[in-house]
Amino acid sequence: MTTNATECLLQLCDEQFQLEDYQSGVPRWCSGCGDNAILAAVQRLCRDEALRPEKTVFVSGIGCSSRFPHYMKTYGFHGIHGRALPVAEGVKMARPDLTVFVNTGDGDCCSIGAAHWIHAIRYNMNLTVFLHDNQIYGLTKKQASPTSPIGTKSNTTPRGSYLEALNPVSVTLGVQNVSFVAQAVDWIPEVLFDIVKAAYHHRGLSFVRIVQRCPEWLPKSFDPWLHDPNRVQILAHANGLHPSAALSRTYKNQLEHDPSNIHRARELAGDSVNIPVGILYRNPEVPCYEDLIRPDLLRTPELTRSVLDSEMDKYTIWP
């Protein structure tokens, strides 16, 4: 890969940051909301990786999840419903030197923004995408989302939702150029952090679906998995998660899964009984769109003058 001219400024000394350097305001999410756990994991990541706050951008759409950037003391972009991904792509294309994260929800990503989701996977720009999937529209007060399990009672489906839930992990794994797919649950912080970290370190579009509790609208929905740790299947591998001994005492249902095996990843993603947690797929070889399309040239006045002149020569009629 060539280095873009704008990336030439190197940080030459180590810097230390504290969690407070990334914390902004008091989150207004409901108590017990899974978004809080995601925020904690991401702030820890920023600190551990010493991400410079001014060089980090969190882009979001609309929904509970999309309030996320307001609670980070970095640059943030809280845009419009469904369009977080194309905004983030624009930021990254203009400024490859920035670290760009995307926070999006199941309505934002899998419903109104579904077209952008499919194409973002295909572009494979170097972005880290967190899908906060609570399986319900929260901010608009309980309507069924595409990922709501069939039969979910909501204000728009008072007798239960009619359709099978869309599986975001299966969909993502089905798109050409997919390069990183992981699944986490908000109630296992250790694994959530490990996955967030692996996603950050992957170069390309890292897609992390985080199954996230909504205590307000779906208080009992996640109980089967919370009450039976064996229904959470930890995917472990030398190239994936390395569950700690403490974790392994509670979460005994573990499976060796090689993240380079996409066929196995697709099988695992389709498991309707257990939630597979870990890195399902990783392929560092998929090229990033910005590397393919961005010329390694600085847009200087001299260059502009010479190109414009040679272009206008083609159309010039001399007296």
């Binding site: 902004s24 410079r52 706050p53 001014e54 060089k55 951008v57 969190f58 882009v59 950037p69 307001h70 980070m72 003391k73 970095t74 640059y75 943030g76 972009f77 809280h78 845009g79 419009i80 369009r83 991904l85 194309p86 905004v87 983030a88 792509e89 624009g90 930021v91 990254k92 294309m93 203009a94 400024r95 030197d97 920035l98 077209a115 952008h116 499919i118 194409h119 399309i293 961005r294 010329p295 040239l297 600085l298 847009r299 006045p301 260059l303 502009t304 003058r305 190109v307 414009l308 002149d309 272009e311 206008m312 159309y315 010039t316 009629i317 001399w318 007296p319």
Partner: protein, 664 residues
Amino acid sequence: MRESTLRDSPREPAPTTLAPTDGRNVVTLTEHILEIISDSGEGAQKCGQSFGSIAAQMGNGIWTTEIIPAEIRPPARSVAGASGNRIRIGAGPVTNGGDETDLVVAFNEQVLLGRVRAKELKPGCTILLENMWRTDGDPTVVASYVETHDRLVAAGFRVIEIPMEQECRKLVSDPRRGKNMFALGMLCRLYSLDLKLAVDQVVLAFGKKDRKVVDANISLLEAGHRWAAAHLDFCYRIPAVRATEPQIVVNGNTAIALGVLASGMEICAMYPITPATSVSHYLSDVFEKVGGVVHQAEDEIAACAFAIGASYAGKCTVTVTSGPGYSLKQEALGLAVMGEIPLVVVNVQRGGPSTGQPTKVEQGDLLTTLFGSHGDAPKVVIAPATIEDCFYSMITARRIAETFNMVVVVLSDASLATSQQPFPRPKFSEAWMAPPVDQSPVPKGAQPYDWDENTGLARRFIPGQPGGMHTLTGLAHDRDSHVAYDANTNEQALRARSLKLAALQRTLAAPTVFGDAAGDLLVIGWGSTKGAIEEAVASLRAQGRRVSSMHLRFLQPLPSGIKEILRGFQQVLTVENNWSDRPEDPIIDETNRRYAALAMLLRARYLVDIDCFTEDRGQPIKPSTIRRVLEAKLNSIDRRPATPDPVPASPTRTGRATQEGRKS
């Protein structure tokens, strides 16, 4: 924005050797309109463009217009399938496509019929018609040809049958590829153009191909020239005056793309849509040479959001679209307005609503551009009026967008997009380009939206600036960019975003009046109608009529000084290529008439009873049509007692004037 200066460019007399010297019947003309039409794929476009370039090099004024069928490959020999080019060539500068056509070269009689039925040909128009169909193997083709030929002759057209196929076959095996060069040779002879320049054009067009291809085309060109010299007993000469400074000939979309190159913008995000896409075609070819990127997004919304993201990150970005795509972008444009993100949007208007007439011209998007999105979303709207304007408006738009942190919409249209006209070659200035992205630390205590009390302007913090960290939001927010739902903050922010338009307006010069500053009638236009309006006004003024015109390039904000200009005239009329209710319709009266977009805007702004004349036929309004309308309007003013002020004019009266204009 730069005023078009074609009229001012110094000129010198053309060498006299350009005229034919064989003593034939040479008619000297001041202008002529010719077109060349064929089935698509037979090269009439190329022939017409080459003819335009040669004429421009000779020093003639030209305006070329593409004749485009709606389908990519319509069936051969179909009435709706005409594809080609129309060239208005003049002794002086040519500012528009003009009226009906004087001479046509047609490769078959069916495409010609389409033009006849559209009333595009002047009575008695000279038709050079391919005659191969007279001896076609299919008797229905022969019958159709003979019938059409005879009817055209009976209708008074001067039809000259030309054995183009037969002549070309002497030189090449497939005349379908190359007949256009034979036609170009004929036209060079007919219009006394320098054949050497035509040969240069062929070398330029086919230079990258095999030498054999170039030679074959040159021999076809020369054969056409020889054939016309031997068999046609007339030819024209249109005096040419060459400009002393270099001119370039491009269409409006290429001019926009060159403007993007010159403006220093780095990213263009787009989704394919007719008639805007050719801007991106051209940019895709050349943008990377200056470090630029064309991103073809998955949809119009994504293109706009991508552009907003890139602009937010410090690189002012352009997104190029047409009406339906513009509608899709509207929500995102509201976000750019709310977040005060600089953004340039090009809307190459086409016929609407809905899919409408994708390849045809309409000025139908003015109001949706001014007032679109939702809530109060002030945007800057500028409309290029000439091909040259298309170039400079991109530089202006980028600059305004970044100075005022606003969305700037450039409203072009399908006519400008596909027409060509020479203009002085722009001389690049470093001042056109954006400064480098500000990455300096933000002073302690500075706020991302420190709205100035008087102008509403705020500095912008760009990602990468230490100390400037904040979350930009589409929610109502305060000076710290914190979400704020309180009443006062909401009004402060609305006020600041609105004041920026006034601040820009204070920097704009008053529009210039074409003609005297006072008179009976002022005609106001915007966009691509400028040339036709001024031509009509000039011809009436030459007869002593008291009419002037004014062309607006800034539609939002409207520059100051307009009210004073309006005061100088008894009546005011806008001429627009969009819909307005016809006053002669029985149920239309002053209480329900829907006025044209600009008329509505000006009536509301200046409280003046401004009338409108509009045509919405998918083609540029002809200068002769405008002239007829203005003449009738002037006649109606002459008949009524003089009033010094336009305000008292009654709606019924202005309505009747327009009605007379239509019927005359």
